[in-house]
């Protein structure tokens, strides 16, 4: 029995070393290829062997059952691996074959403002599948940190970063003069009025953020410049100032409604870090229409196996903390009190 247990330990150690090597290899090939690599049939064999060894280990080593921390750690690892395998691409295919469960594992859906959709383009293919419910996009918007900043550089050296506040004048020193932000535009366009071209903030869909800046030279001459967020570094050779305008995005928000049998059954604003959970799927803010903000792109992910993985996480965490910390702390407290 002793020899048998020793063999299990050695096999376990070899499997750990193999996984270290595979992880390092995976890190070098990039996330996309690594995912494919770790889902290849030989690797599926490896994962199955690892789970099997965990189970054999728990059965063979009485200590693993007797010591609660160790049991939690090892059983937690089994759950993480089992949940991960069940939720993987191979796991989804297996569920379809064995139980007829045809669930979308992961994909993306684009929804225009004011419309609803249930079509998901599956990841890694052009195939489309329908969800059993629809999602309607009420509104998509981007929020920015305030204030935004205008960066100013002069060719002779010297730079400033000033908050974008319309109407406020900022002194740039005796040699550079002053600068004033006259107006901030969300969608800058040039329009015609009485035969003259004038800048305007176009309310129609589109985005061209810009600043109208008035520069007053030390001699008193004033000039107007437009700084465009979408064209950083845009300047003329004779410009004394290099101006750049950049807003930092603080959030992407898709206001969504879930429609089932023609009725709105749920509503939620999907933001980064705040996905929507419904009908066995999670919906994440993934991308958007960066030209006119008219549509959002959501990532759709199946939750199959997820809660098994989470249960494993809890067990692993509690097990490790109990076994390596708490058990010793309690023993110390006990021995001090007696």
């Amino acid at each position: 029995m002793q020899k048998y247990r020793r063999t299990i330990m050695w096999v376990g150690l070899v499997l750990i070393i193999i996984l270290i090597v595979l992880s390092i290899y995976g890190a070098f090939i990039g996330a996309e290829r690594a995912e494919q690599f770790f889902n290849h049939p030989p690797l599926v064999v490896y994962w199955t062997a690892l789970v099997t060894l965990f189970i054999i280990g728990i059965a063979a080593f009485r200590r693993l059952v007797r010591v609660p921390g160790l049991l939690l750690i090892h059983a937690g690892c089994v759950l993480i691996l089992a949940g991960g395998m069940w939720g993987s691409r191979v796991g989804h295919n297996l569920q379809k074959k064995l139980f007829g469960i045809d669930k979308i594992r992961s994909g993306r859906m684009a929804i225009y403002e004011g419309t609803s959709d249930n079509l998901v383009v599956l990841d890694g293919s052009r195939e489309q599948k329908e969800l059993p419910f629809s999602l309607k996009l009420k509104d998509f918007r981007i929020e920015y940190y305030k204030p935004a900043y205008l960066r100013i550089q002069i060719r002779q050296g010297g730079q400033w970063k000033i908050p974008v506040e319309a109407g406020k004048e900022f002194p740039l020193g005796d040699e550079a003069g002053t600068i004033k932000i006259v107006k901030a535009y969300e969608n800058f366009k040039i329009g015609m009025e009485e035969g003259k071209s004038i800048p305007l903030d176009d309310p129609s869909p589109g985005s061209n953020p810009a600043l109208e800046v008035q520069i007053t030279e030390p001699g008193g001459q004033t000039s107007t410049q437009y700084v465009f967020e979408l064209f950083p570094g845009h300047s003329h050779g004779q410009d004394k100032f290099l101006l750049s305008y950049r807003r930092v995005i603080s959030d992407y928000i898709s206001e969504l409604q879930i429609i089932e049998d023609g009725k709105v059954v749920a509503e939620k604003n999907v933001e980064v870090n705040h996905p929507l959970r419904f009908g066995g799927y999670h919906f994440y803010q993934s991308s958007y229409d960066d030209k006119a903000f008219q549509y959002t792109v959501l990532q759709v992910v199946s939750d199959t196996g997820l809660y098994v993985v989470y249960a494993g996480y809890w067990m692993l965490c509690i097990g490790v903390i109990w076994h390596l910390w708490l058990r010793h702390i309690f023993t110390r407290i006990k021995s001090k009190s007696t």
């Binding site: 890190a27 770790f38 992961s106």
Partner: protein, 263 residues
Amino acid sequence: MEIKYTTQGLLVYMTITAYLLAFVAAVFRRTKAGHILYLSGFAIAVCSFGYRWYHVRHVPLQNLFEVFLCLGMIYPVTLFCRRVLRVGGYGADMLIGAIVLFPAGFVFNAEPQQLPPALQNWLFTPHVAVYMLSYIFMAKAAFQAICQLAGRNSRPGENLLPPEEATYRMIYAGFPLLTLGLILGSYWGKQAWGDYWGWDPKELWSLASWLVFVGYFHYRYMSGNKHPRINSLWAIAGMAAIIITLLWVNLSRIFSGLHSYAT
């Protein structure tokens, strides 16, 4: 490499100087002076971290500059290890403190950045903080492992553990934090990116680091103290994997991925 002519830079340089002086004092057995300098260095490091926090208006753990600023506050771990866990390495910790602050002072970009949407999550601070704390324990473990390989032992009368046992104890202390960091990161990844495991280079290197310590525990369980050198090599390999996870993955273009913003 550039010198930072800012209040933040000055605080970092003052901390490095205090730690280095403390190390010199420790080498020359000026224990009291060393301790005072080390404590002063820690106080400045806390001010530096607090100043950065005030300046960027979020917990400063976003990029390598801020993370290394945090790692520079090593003193409480030193004290805890010595008083509670009976693990030495006092002088080495002073040097570790100075070494980790060096890139913050001279290499990493200190330009304040606002948090991108993905980082605006309650898990941001605990995920990074537990990792940093575990890295300090594992660095101490690696130092003890090197001492074991070099045949150095604690001085008699110091009431400290021998290096091999000290390595084990440090890994015992750091491993739950490493596990927590990995799991919190995975849970956060699910909330932010849609998957609890994205096969990203940083994730894979952190898994590799975690697995090296798992390997250490299993090997040590099998062989006990029979092969202390191999035990030490596991601990050093674990620290090497951590350094790669923390630095190489973020700085090298080879490993571009979801964690690339953390440079």
